[in-house]
Symmetry: C2
Subunit: 247 residues, 2 copies
């Protein structure tokens, strides 16, 4: 029973999210259906990050165990043949028995993209949050860096699916401008539900000058979701990559 | 009766092309309908390049004459309010009376994008031609440069809408690789119908090693469409910009 590690990219626009739901197309569901057709039995696929509806992935990692050995290049081609073009398996590798894409993940990287200009490019309409008012990127970056280190992130936890512990370690958290785009890049050992989008929404309040950069420290310390900014829309969020110690 | 110059970007995926057709949504039709609502009468919009169905624009230029003066920032906002997000007016400027976006254009720039890798990124599926077999980009660039200068481009003219003269001047024509992307950039004083896509299709034959780079010279000299490569698909083509002497 070989276990595989898949790297998967998807345009989340038309999906209900990573996780299989009662109705609507999910990335997990599409992968499980494609693997079932290939392996001849029901296959369970685990994703490193359970991205929400409308959230994209450049390098989601998924694990699965098949009944029979399949050459990894055959696996990639057979899955992509069955998947819609909005979901692509970029690569596959055989993993150690028991490899679990979520439990074994050491770090995840996310990017939140904001289009900060008068007119939203038609090519960014599905991939960025459009904000017309100018953003103070230096203040946003200063605030973003205050999140680095080990903290209780209860202030940025969405409702539902509450975790036993809301402590996480953020490895890096920065904001920079690239033309009309404002990019928030964050890496950490784990993320609470809606955490990156709640941070992005808070950074935008700081960028608009509603709160000073130092407010981020107080929001974090208060551990109260109502003190932080609103949850930024899903279309700006990308799961960039997932890191593991070894397979 | 003021005349305006509009710079327009659009994702061509879901349109029948620039030009108004008997059925289906066209960019010209959408702009004319939005201007009619604004100006209270039928408005004719002329585009610098009549892009085909599925072709995109980063900086199409359109001209129109309105019955009454409208501040350019109001014009941009009012049009974008009425247009779908796949079409955006990036800017507007008042032009000299009689300004005509097509007749007055001095040069146009196009880019043709090829995704040359095993797996097509989900984010490129509407914006690039996917070719798995490796392309010899140096040979493609050598061939592309042979098109620079004044030539008869009859070899690269699509059927229908034949022009009196098939001579055009190409100002620059180059191919380069950028990661998995192969980019063909071309600027010229004018282009025949399907010309950029027929050139891109021919460059791909050269990139695959089916023809040597020097074949481009013979194909050009033969002035016979059947000697050139096939017309590359529309989704890889972008009208990048249009240049004018003055307004």
């Amino acid at each position: 029973m070989p276990t595989y590690k898949l790297i998967v990219a998807y345009d989340g626009t038309d999906f209900v999210g990573w996780q299989r739901q009662a109705s609507g197309e999910s990335v997990q569901g599409l992968l499980e259906d494609a693997l079932r057709a290939l392996d001849g039995r029901r296959v369970k696929v685990t994703g490193a990050g359970r991205t929400d509806a409308g959230v994209h992935a450049l390098g989601q990692v998924a694990s699965c165990t098949l009944a029979r050995d399949v050459a990894v290049d055959v696996l990639v081609r057979a899955l992509n043949f069955r998947l819609p073009p909005a979901v692509r398996v970029l690569s596959a590798a055989e993993a150690r028995p028991g490899f679990h894409a979520r439990f074994r993940a050491r770090a995840k990287r996310y990017r939140y993209r904001i289009w900060n200009g008068a007119v939203l490019s038609p090519f960014e309409r599905r991939y960025a949050w459009h904000l017309v008012a100018p953003l103070d990127v230096a203040a946003m970056d200063e605030a973003a860096r205050l999140l680095e280190g080990r903290h209780d992130f209860a202030a940025f936890q969405g409702t539902g699916r509450e975790m036993a512990s809301t402590e996480r370690t953020i490895l890096s958290s920065t904001v920079r401008r690239q033309g009309a785009l404002v990019l928030y890049d964050v890496a950490g050992d784990g993320f609470l539900r809606h955490m990156v989008r709640a941070i992005a929404g808070t950074l935008v309040e700081i960028g608009r000058g509603r709160w000073p950069a130092a407010a981020m420290r107080e929001i974090l310390a208060a551990a109260d979701r109502s003190r932080a900014g609103r949850t930024a829309p899903p279309e700006g969020l990308f799961l960039v990559s997932v890191e593991y110690g070894d397979l």
